[in-house]
Point group: C2
Chain length 409, copies 2
């Protein structure tokens, strides 16, 4: 018998019928003898409805009151799910964040969990009840309702799993697992049986938006096995855990992530003096613009070229800042390009497999795709290429690294 935390998001509990379907799923699990804690989000659309009401009251709603307001969304879902479970004859009890006592700091609308009191939950589990907990919310030391910020229900699930040392935290979504890459781009993309926390973090931050990054970090920190599954289809989903697969089976890379959301800024012919990168990137960062890839090439004539990427929406603002700096840095020219894409190979297998980078470059070269920028980390290699070659690049890399699914018979 295991202790399982199951988290269902807003879409999975978005209608009366779906809540009933979730209840059936949960009750079936419970009948297998597992202890079950269910974490739910607000019914889809509800949080936005509440936020609209708030904005009608106050242009910038008071954070404390915002939390009182939006936390009602999950409170509605926990009670409805318990009713649906009772209707199936399954004992169940609902808990708000305050009732569990999910203690957080006082940072309204973006609170962080400090401690979870597991006494009442353990009592209920021992009594054979399914425990249904409102995601996304907690309470501070003074009894004020707090929320963890958007998507925080995943974090609630992982935090509960960590506090109660659950065997697994299952995140039910609208996909049946984590894929080697986006199946809309590569039809042969394969569901991964397992992936490490590190790999998932690299995949998530690059566009495979299955899980909240914060909850993956959290799960990794407390070593809570996470499983991503489809809410209404069957299947084993993808297990995200600390362990790598045994070396023998370990593939070189686990997946290919990509993004089209970036733009490239190149400052050409800057006199190569110490502090140059800071001189240019400092003002960019001061304007709250996040910089992703940064590459500095050493040039022949005592000048250098600095290239970096920012979010596509920030390009105009960034360009204005950088052009302002041209005179004081003595740079020759500023170029921008928003027709770029970033493709990344991700895999802990890189640590034990040599030649991944050169195989990647060779594959792209064979397709005549020019690489504009390269960055590497321990478990990731990213290249920036012309946007129009994105699909071709991902597909050919997917095949080259043996990620294509087995042909069905």
């Amino acid at each position: 018998m295991s202790l399982i935390v199951q988290k269902f998001g807003g879409t999975s509990v978005g209608t009366v019928e779906r809540i009933k379907a979730v209840a059936k799923k949960v009750a079936a699990f419970r009948e297998q003898g597992h202890d079950i804690i269910v974490v739910v989000s607000a019914m889809s659309g509800e949080t936005n409805r509440l936020i609209d009401l708030a904005k009608a009251m106050q242009a910038v709603p008071t954070p404390r009151e915002m939390d009182v307001l939006v936390s009602t969304g999950e409170q509605v879902t926990i009670s409805l799910l318990c009713m649906a479970l009772h209707d199936l004859g399954q004992g169940a009890k609902s808990y708000t964040g305050t009732q569990v006592r999910i203690l957080t700091d006082e940072a309204h609308t973006k609170a962080r969990i400090r401690d979870i009191d597991d006494a009442k939950i353990r009592e209920d589990l021992a009594a054979g009840n399914v425990v249904v907990v409102a995601g996304f919310q907690g309470v501070d030391e003074n009894g004020n309702i707090t929320t963890l910020g958007r998507g925080g229900s995943d974090t609630t699930g992982v935090a509960l799993a960590a506090a109660l040392k659950a065997d697994e935290c299952q995140i039910y979504t609208d996909v049946d697992g984590v894929y080697t890459t986006d199946p809309r781009v590569v039809s042969k993309a394969r569901r991964l049986d397992r992936i490490t926390f590190e790999e998932m973090l690299e995949m998530a931050s690059l566009g495979s938006k299955v899980l909240q990054i914060r909850s993956v970090e959290f799960a990794g920190k407390y070593n809570v096995p996470l499983r991503v599954l489809h809410a209404f289809q069957g299947g084993p989903g993808t297990l995200i855990s600390l362990e790598e697969q045994s070396d023998m089976e370990n593939p070189a890379i686990s997946g290919i992530a990509f993004t089209r959301d970036e733009a490239k800024i190149t400052v050409l012919g800057v006199p190569d003096t110490p502090g140059l990168a800071y001189q240019i990137l400092g003002p960019v960062s001061d304007a709250n613009i996040e910089v992703d890839v940064i590459v500095q090439n050493v040039a022949e004539d005592n000048t250098t070229d600095l290239t970096f990427t920012v979010s596509r929406g920030d390009m105009a603002k960034t360009e204005a800042i950088v052009r302002n700096l041209v005179k004081q840095t003595g740079a020759r020219e500023v170029k921008t390009d928003d027709k770029i894409a970033k493709v990344s190979l991700v895999g802990v297998g890189m640590r034990s497999h040599a030649g991944i980078a050169s195989k990647m470059f060779k594959t792209l070269a064979e397709e005549s795709i020019n690489i504009q920028l390269i960055t590497t980390s321990e478990i990731k290699i990213s290249v920036v290429i012309d946007e129009k070659y994105l699909e071709l690049a991902v597909r050919s890399l997917h095949t080259a690294f043996d990620l294509d699914s087995e042909p069905s018979i």
Copy 2:
């Protein structure tokens, strides 16, 4: 400087615009230097929306979960009202029943308040904040959310006023006070400046549905002056308190209540033996039918006639029960009539004024209205008449007892 509790019902906070209007009203009061506690209901329609969701889950929703669900209605309103107050620059803080700690018993969906912790509220008032409390809800000793049952927000207001020894509990409604009778029937009906708790209870139970009976009883018990006012029009409203007016000014009666909701059952020619009333009314009461007026006439031939009234909706069921009893009681006949109306004079002045009853009967006789049943209590005389004479009866009594408003100049 006074401490005032102001309660606004669902209609008064039913839209974004109305919540803003309430915020303005409250802020203006606060600026006069009063300490203000505001109690609010759920936005009109919200509670029914939630109940419909519950019923879609479970034919008879679990009471504990029902309370978790419907209590979100008031939680939404308190946060929105605080935002609207902040938008006006007025400090305000919201409290759920759990956060105040409105301690109740464990009777979900119809809990009774046991104790109110006033510490946090007093702190906020001292800091110059308006305190906004969710009506209708509390928390039991184990941290479970409870609700006081429909209309319970009035009770929350009165309970807070009692616990904090407020100078007045103002109930804002869609009428500008308590009237001598229904203005839709008697155009000359007058708003009463004041009325006693006892009178209000008699008026309320008879159809002047301005206040929840339970909150009036509660206010009377703890001697909390209650004031009924219109939420958006001006005016002093009606003060409901313990004190009668000085004897000199004391009118014979304060108001005329009436109802068309009843039906009359008469059992004719029952052998007049001890226990007769119980023999007939026992089975009626066992069927959970509430009996209102009961009159037993002594007849000549050792038989008696028993007449009683029930809610009109219960007439058919009651008739069936009573007809079943005809044989065993030896009664001659059962007659029913649902074309009746009950008219009641209410007033503590009856205690000091003689001849009220005879004046009432004389007035009705002059209009040739036949009285079918009469019952009296210390501050009320009720008669049952043919429904078609209801308006005529109320109007002529209203004039006869000097309740008509002064003609405007």
